[in-house]
Symmetry: C2
Subunit: 367 residues, 2 copies
């Protein structure tokens, strides 16, 4: 059964579970494991846990620590006296079920076949990710979260977690997420998936034993994402019509193309295409109303005080979607606050405008 | 030399030219031909010609006629008493140089090799397209255009034509175009081209004699375009989160995905990928300031009265770009009008809100 575990050299903590784990769409995992990282100390009554849910492509490595000193993706946010203050909170960041950073996912060896699950990995929903995280959290003896927080996919997951476990989440923050995914956002992920599906190196998902990986298509899929992660105005200011100096070419010629080239190739080699397929699809399927007779009924499960944050230039989950979930929660008499950040950094603002988010998070958690 | 001509059964009129045609980026075509369609009659003093420049993927078949009764892409716009009134005007629609609808382009047989030019076709700019169109127009004995008009790529071309031949254009209309292409718009076309370049069936542009064409990548490239041609709000209203009923899949599952699937495959089989590469690149390179010491100097070539139209929901060439060119022209004391259409149809509004555009065009041409 060791085969199911992520490589031993990954500096993650590991939660492993052999209790059957039924999934929303019908299949059942007969074992499950999640990897995670943590900062700060769990206090005596286990009341200071803050769970951080990541976006689509980030790992649990949100901040450096003794076992992995590389800077994390939210390095300045987590630490003593930071936005997520490790003097006060036990901060826990979990690698999503279905992902490729040590949690059970398509690249994990299936004990039944002794090969990676690959495309046979079962369909997931955001609710499955929330339920898996809940098992891990309970296994640490945490019955109530001080808070959960996340941006993008993590923002959806914060909402869904609060909807699934309303009595176990004291408060939550959802950043640049949505209460239900809209058609334009689905469309972007659809074309990203088509790029991968069309790549002969993807081999319908059975590429693990091949010499060539579908990195070309992963790079392009990422580049499509990158367009939606920032804003047009930022790129006007940052790149304008500057050229690289390489001359006329269908490849990187303008500076913006060189940026995309770099961004695409950075992700292509460290993200599993099958995880990309399954997690983007989970994002498309996401609605708080999923499985309920109305969206409103799904929203009404949420009772915890919350802070919803959006960014005026977000193309992927535009700010009216964050405002809509805030208003839907207020409509259910839930204590909900809404912050609109006017930044040119678009969907990615949480990675850029760290000071704004640190202040907002600190103020909200302190209340 | 017959090899250079488009198939004889295409119901286009043809202009052929053996005068060397020097291109902006340095190479010279030693022959050139353009196909076109026309409606209405050229009057005695040749003063009633209105040239219509198409977008990237449209052919000259803007309206049905005796030789081709299929409805055109602007069927309701052209005809007796229509927006482009064929009782008054001789309306001429030209297939772009470099395109694939009968004009000289990458799919044309190169007499030097007896094979299609393919990827050896020289780099083009919007200025080359304007100069080629000018030769055709002069060959018809038209020294002054009553007007030129175009949307999207055609809107850029209207501007460029008026900049190259200010004394020969009495007025012009530029719809949903730009005076210079911005980085986000370049980024969309960059990823579209990467999709095609990565397709093994593209064979670096040498696919003409192969059994399989790079239709899969052309479909995806088109789908990326389709996202930018409409607006998020239109899709919210039109598709929302409706499913096809086919069930969970990485392909068409949501209605919006089914729409994209259909749109992509519609274009994939009738547009030449090499034309797509070369014309999208020409769009990226477009700036009225190209080759001048400043953008302003490039803009200042334009002297003809003009109407600039934009749409509030255009993602690809957002309305501030049309307003910017209008203001730049006013700044040069050019008689410029600006119309902002508040429509959910985005960049494609000219194909949807035909009545608005017909009225605007009629009013402007009548002045």
């Amino acid at each position: 059964m060791d085969d199911q575990l992520p490589p031993a050299d990954l500096p993650f903590q590991l939660y492993s579970d052999t209790e059957p784990f039924p999934l929303v769409m019908g299949r059942t995992l007969d074992h499950m494991h999640l990897s995670f990282e943590s900062w700060g100390e769990l206090n005596e009554d286990h009341s200071n846990a803050v769970v951080l849910f990541t976006g689509l492509s980030a790992s649990s490595h949100a901040r450096s620590h003794a076992l992995n000193t590389a800077p994390g993706w939210w390095e300045a946010m987590i630490g003593p006296s930071c936005g997520l203050d490790t003097n006060k909170y036990f901060v826990l960041c979990i690698n999503h079920l279905g992902g490729c950073f040590g949690s059970l996912g398509p690249a994990t060896i299936d004990p039944a076949s002794d090969k990676p699950y690959g495309p046979t990995f079962p369909p997931l929903t955001i609710r499955d990710l929330a339920k898996a995280a809940h098992r891990l959290i309970r296994s640490l003896g945490i019955t109530h979260l001080y808070a959960c927080i996340g941006a993008s996919l993590g923002g959806m997951l914060s909402l869904e977690y609060a909807a699934c476990y309303p009595d176990q989440v004291n408060r939550f923050i959802s950043i640049s997420g949505t209460g239900r995914t809209g058609p334009q956002s689905i469309a972007y992920r659809y074309v990203q998936r088509q790029v991968i599906l069309n790549d002969p190196a993807y081999h319908d998902g059975w590429f693990y034993d091949k010499d060539e990986r579908p990195t070309k298509s992963m790079a392009v899929a990422r580049q499509i994402g990158n367009i939606t992660y920032r804003s047009r105005q930022e790129w006007e200011d940052r790149f304008g019509r500057s050229r690289t100096g390489n001359g006329y070419s269908f490849g990187p010629d303008f500076q913006v193309e060189s940026y995309l080239h770099h961004m695409g190739h950075k992700l292509a080699h460290h993200f599993d295409p099958n995880s990309f397929m399954i997690l983007t699809k989970a994002m498309d399927l996401f609605s708080l109303g999923y499985g309920f007779s109305s969206y409103r009924e799904g929203v009404a499960r949420i009772t915890s005080p919350n802070l919803i944050i959006g960014v005026t230039t977000d193309m992927l989950f535009p700010i009216d979607e964050q405002e809509a979930i805030h208003l839907a929660l207020k409509n259910e008499a839930v204590d909900s606050q809404f912050l609109a950040l006017d930044s040119l950094s678009g969907h990615d603002s949480f990675l850029v405008e760290v000071e704004f988010f640190a202040n907002a998070i600190q103020n909200f958690l302190r209340e």
